[in-house]
């Protein structure tokens, strides 16, 4: 599903952030990348999503060479094939919970009835049945992250990227959110990539890699 070869990225000053990275993630596989702050985990994640350009190397996702696309094509590709989970949840405050979950479907032109049905199905899976019409501001942190996870998989993406998704959650909520994220990724057949500095969080992954000394290696 995801194939990265010889990826390198430099800091704006020229120093190497990481170099010659290789990474493969299969469909339904949930991989965690751990490392210290500043190691380049998030930068790697952004490069995989096409939000940041690597200096060299190639990224191929489901047969598409991501690094060959221009910015608009990348945006359209991301719209169809990538799901995101952020540390800060980033739910849109003016949309309801249901509309937030259905947002990727809306962007991909799915009719409203189908959107509503899919959002309801995912919210029920996240234990939030009946909350469709509430505004995000009325939810707890753990609930908001579950909504964000539902949003990340709503459009059945090929790749789900999660950047420190438990950073704002307590231990119980963090564990629950990670389990839901892994289950969602697996049940949707996506490739999941989690970056975190937490070894506990990484433990839920099928495979754990460490980004250190500019290289990626099994933890």
């Amino acid at each position: 599903m995801l194939a990265v070869r010889g990826l390198a990225k430099r800091w704006p000053g020229g120093a190497l952030l990481f170099d010659d990275l290789d990474l493969e993630v299969a469909p339904g596989e949930f991989v965690a990348i751990v490392g210290e702050s500043g190691a380049g985990k998030s930068t790697l994640l952004n490069a995989l999503a096409g939000l940041d350009r690597a200096d060299s190397g190639s990224i191929v996702i489901a047969g598409t060479p991501v690094d060959a696309l221009d910015e608009d094509a990348l945006a359209r590709w991301r719209r169809a094939h990538v799901g995101f989970v952020f540390q800060q949840f980033h739910l849109l405050p003016y949309l309801t919970v249901g509309e937030n979950v259905a947002l990727p479907l809306l962007l991909n032109g799915v009719p409203s009835a189908a959107r509503a049905a899919r959002a309801a199905q995912l919210l029920a899976r996240m234990g939030l049945a009946g909350r469709e019409d509430r505004k995000p501001g009325t939810l707890s942190g753990g609930e908001m992250q579950r909504v964000a996870i539902a949003r990340a998989v709503a459009h059945k993406p090929r790749l789900v990227l999660a950047d420190e998704p438990t950073g704002n959650l307590d231990e119980a909520n963090a564990g629950e959110a990670l389990a839901l994220l892994r289950d969602a990724v697996k049940s949707e057949g996506a490739a999941g990539l989690l970056v975190t500095h937490s070894e506990t969080a990484a433990a839920v992954a099928d495979r754990v890699l460490r980004l250190a000394g500019r290289r990626l290696a099994p933890a």
Binding site: L92, P93, L95, L107, P111, G137
Partner: protein
């Protein structure tokens, strides 16, 4: 809240909103400057008139003033003989036009000619009341000591010498009814410097040269010492013919002030509307700034700051913006009025002060009041924001990044109540000529429109079907979710679109009505005017006969005017005598349109203004002093008169001539024979008319177009003000969107993570701008229509006494609506550029 905390918060707020704060200050400053300039120009004009009256009146206690065409000079002898009178001086007073070659360098009137006031005096009698009339008193004299007794000699005030471009011993010429009246400057009268541009000659010479034999316009009187004033007044009034009334020399200025009050108030109201729009911008600035700092305020409240402390801070911020705007606006208004006085004089387009130079005389009290209005506007706007923040849910605001203002639930009750009150206010009668109820109705109608923003948006968006378009779904959701923001942003658009559309409808209605009226009243093919400027030249009967005998002229209608000053009324009454026919009455839109049979009292038709100002009704019998003799008139109906603001009465020329014996004419309308060669007729008429110095001949099309040109020029300032109001409001919306877009940059980052391109995010903002603009335009147009009805039916009628029908400028309104929505969309997208310029990755991490 202590001073240190207030200063810290204030510096943070103003530094974070430099551009918007500047815009709000500029907006307040604009309104204050406009109102200040109007007041200063007006005060300067009135000050000059007052000073001129005092200067020329000298030690006179009273002046006996007659109609514009003068009164019998025998009245002077009767007054002078009275034991109650210590000194009396007869005066001939005319506005005359200088012959161009002698007027080089002088100030030109609107028609391109220098006009001056000509006073004909009895020098020995006049000097007893005002020694300044004699050059021996203080003036510079020409060689050979010329005096008033020399018929070619005139004495000039320094202002007249400047206007005419002559000095002592210099020669100049004035237009008289029989040709040029050549004069030599015998000396200057510096003691009369404050009297304005005045040419003084001997009274006999003035009467003879300007065909006023046996007529005077004024008698200046000093009362004998020790005589009770009431007794003296009664004795003098008894000696005067009908139509001549006694007043104090300075009454002229207060009468002018009264006459121009409605005009001044309306211009000021227009300026205050700019201030009103500015108030909404201040509200929007403070509200959006406060919304951005919602969490910060919640934190301060959580740390122990009271709600009162927070209110005080916001009010202080508003007051400071108002103070800055008021100070800048006052200075700007003073500078603008000084520049306008030097360049154009104090006339603001309505002709009240045309020809007056005006001396810069700021009315400090009025300026302070206008400045205070600016501060009050800003403080009121701040108060509205503080009211909103009284409802701040501290706990919710602390954890919620939602950016809306804590707005009250917006229902229909408040706007409906405001609209109902506006309807009632429109029926409140005028106070003097000030349409207090009309203005109150306008403010309430605008308030209703602003209050309707939230509920109307809710209704509009609940009906919006945009389920399949991602950008529309997001845009409508965003607009729907921020009612407080929307109200703050859109209120400026609502108010400015309402005012602009209302003015457009009113001006269009006026123009269409004027156009139709001109077609009716012109009703002739050519018009000859004896004295387009001033009143010194008239057409005598032989000339009228020559015009009537020109081959191709089917008929001529001589028109004679006089202006009466009626006791107990501050407004003059114009008498218009011309042949009255059914066709003429139809042209003047007379109601009822029929000519009643002749009776003992002559038939008369009053203008709408005369009906309002003098309280007459159709069927009333009244008595007016025509040429010093009481005339009985029966009011046969009301006619429309856009040419005379202060009231006029129309009588048949034959009736006038029979009663007064006056066979002169100021204008002559010439109807061509259908078979006549128009060009040949025009040439033949022109050959006769050009023999009268300064007289003009124009065809009906010229007169029609000229009237419309003058109309358009008069309203040009209004158009400019309205355009400024719309631009300010658009700038407000753009800046609001800029602030909002900057606050939403994380959201835009998320959307770009989810696959929206930068262009799509900008398009999303454009949709939101268009949606906000659309709501503003819809409500603004609705309010504008209501306000235009108030302007046409109440304000115009009560202030200027003009009746008119409402005509809707559909194309202009459509263009306005389209332009505002488009500019809102473009402005919002442009404002969002900075917000989406950052990398999406940085944006989602941004904690601001």
């Amino acid at each position: 809240m202590n001073v240190a905390l207030a200063a810290t918060l204030l510096s943070g707020s103003l530094a974070g909103n430099r551009w918007r704060s500047g815009l709000a200050v500029a907006c307040i400053a604009l309104g204050v400057a406009l109102a200040g300039a109007v007041h200063t120009l007006h005060a300067s004009a009135l000050d000059e008139i007052d000073r001129a009256a005092r200067t020329l009146g000298g030690e006179a206690d009273l002046q006996a003033r007659g109609p514009r065409n003068g009164f019998d000079d025998a009245a002077f002898v009767a007054v002078a003989k009275l034991p109650e009178v210590a000194a009396a001086s007869p005066v001939v007073e005319l506005d005359v036009v200088a012959v161009p070659p002698g007027s080089g360098g002088g100030r030109q009137s609107a028609e391109g000619r220098a006009t001056v006031k000509l006073l004909g005096i009895d020098p020995f009698r006049a000097a007893r009341l005002q020694p300044g009339f004699l050059t021996e008193a203080s003036g510079e004299r020409a060689e050979g000591s010329p005096s008033y007794l020399d018929t070619d000699i005139a004495f000039l005030t320094p202002a007249a010498a400047k206007r005419l471009g002559v000095g002592v011993n210099g020669s100049f010429a004035l237009r008289g009814p029989r040709g040029e009246v050549k004069l030599r400057v015998g000396g200057l009268l510096p003691a009369l410097e404050g009297g304005g541009p005045v040419v003084v000659v001997d009274i006999a010479h003035a009467q003879q040269a300007f065909d006023r034999l046996g007529l005077i316009h004024r008698i200046d009187v000093r009362l004998a010492a020790g005589v009770p004033r009431d007794r003296a007044l009664a004795a003098i009034q008894a000696a005067l013919p009908p139509g001549v009334r006694l007043e104090r020399p300075d009454d002229g200025a207060s009468r002018t002030a009264g006459l121009t009050r409605a005009y001044r108030v309306n211009l000021t109201a227009l300026a205050l509307m700019a201030l009103f729009t500015g108030g909404f911008l201040v509200f929007s600035t403070l509200a959006l700034a406060a919304a951005r700092r919602r969490q910060e305020f919640a934190l301060l409240r959580a740390l122990g700051l009271t709600a009162g402390g927070l209110r005080g801070f916001l009010a202080l911020e508003g007051a400071l913006l108002g103070l800055a705007g008021a100070a800048a606006g006052t200075l700007l208004g003073l500078a603008a009025s000084l520049a306008m006085l030097e360049r154009f004089g104090p006339d603001l387009g309505a002709g009240f002060f045309s020809g007056s130079a005006g001396t810069f005389s700021p009315d400090l009290l009025a300026l302070a009041a206008v400045g205070f209005a600016g501060i009050a506007t800003a403080a009121t706007a701040a108060f509205a924001v503080t009211r909103a923040f009284d409802r701040l849910d501290v706990a919710q605001a602390l954890k919620d990044r939602h950016l809306d203002l804590p707005a009250a639930p917006g229902g229909w009750a408040a706007p409906a109540a405001a609209a109902a009150l506006a309807s009632l206010a429109a029926f409140v009668p005028a106070a003097g000529e000030i349409p207090v109820g009309g203005y109150l109705a306008i403010v309430l109608a605008l308030g209703a429109a602003v209050l309707a923003v939230v509920p109307a948006t809710r209704v509009l968006l609940s009906r919006a079907r945009a389920e399949e378009s991602p950008l529309l779904v997001l845009a409508t959701a965003q607009v729907r979710s921020l009612p407080g923001h929307l109200a703050a942003m859109v209120s400026g658009i609502v108010v400015s679109v309402a005012l602009t559309s209302a003015m457009a409808i009113m001006v269009f209605s006026f123009r269409v009505s004027l156009d139709g009226w001109l077609y009716g009243v012109l009703g002739a093919d050519f018009f000859a005017r004896a004295s387009p400027n001033g009143d010194a030249v008239v057409f005598d009967e032989p000339l009228q006969s020559r015009l009537a005998q020109v081959p191709g002229a089917e008929r001529i209608d001589p028109i004679r005017y006089d202006r009466l000053n009626l006791a107990g009324h501050s407004h003059p009454l114009t008498v218009m005598a011309r042949p009255v026919t059914e066709k003429l009455l139809a042209g003047f839109q007379v109601d009822p349109p029929a000519i009643p049979p002749k009776g003992e009292a002559m038939n008369a038709w009053m203008s709408e203004a005369a009906a309002d100002l003098f309280g007459w009704k159709a069927g009333d019998e009244i008595q007016l002093p025509f040429a010093g003799r009481p005339a009985r008139l029966r009011i046969a109906g009301t006619y429309r008169d856009y040419a005379r603001t202060w009231g006029a009465i129309l009588v048949d020329l034959e009736d006038w001539r029979r009663h007064t014996g006056d066979r002169l004419a100021n204008d002559v309308a010439i109807v061509a024979d259908r078979s006549a060669d128009a060009k040949a007729l025009a040439k033949a008429l022109a050959r006769i008319v050009e023999k009268v110095p300064g007289a003009e001949l124009h065809d009906a099309a010229y007169s029609h177009n000229r009237a419309l040109e003058i109309f358009d020029r008069t309203f040009a300032a209004t158009y400019a003000l309205e355009a400024a109001a719309v631009l300010i409001a658009l700038a407000g919306v753009t800046s609001s969107f800029a602030a909002l877009a900057w606050s939403r940059r994380r959201e835009f980052g998320v959307l770009r993570h989810l696959g929206l391109t930068r262009r799509e995010v900008l398009r999303l903002l454009a949709f939101e701008g268009a949606a906000a603009g659309g709501v503003g335009v819809a409500l603004g147009l609705a309010a504008g229509a209501a306000v235009s009805v108030v302007l046409v039916r109440v304000v115009n009628r009560q202030s200027f006494h003009w009746g008119m029908e409402i005509h809707w400028p559909w194309l202009a309104l459509l263009a306005l609506a389209g332009a505002v929505v488009l500019l809102c969309a473009l402005g919002a997208a442009a404002a969002g550029r900075a917000a989406v310029a950052r990398e999406a990755v940085d944006a989602v991490k941004d904690d601001a």
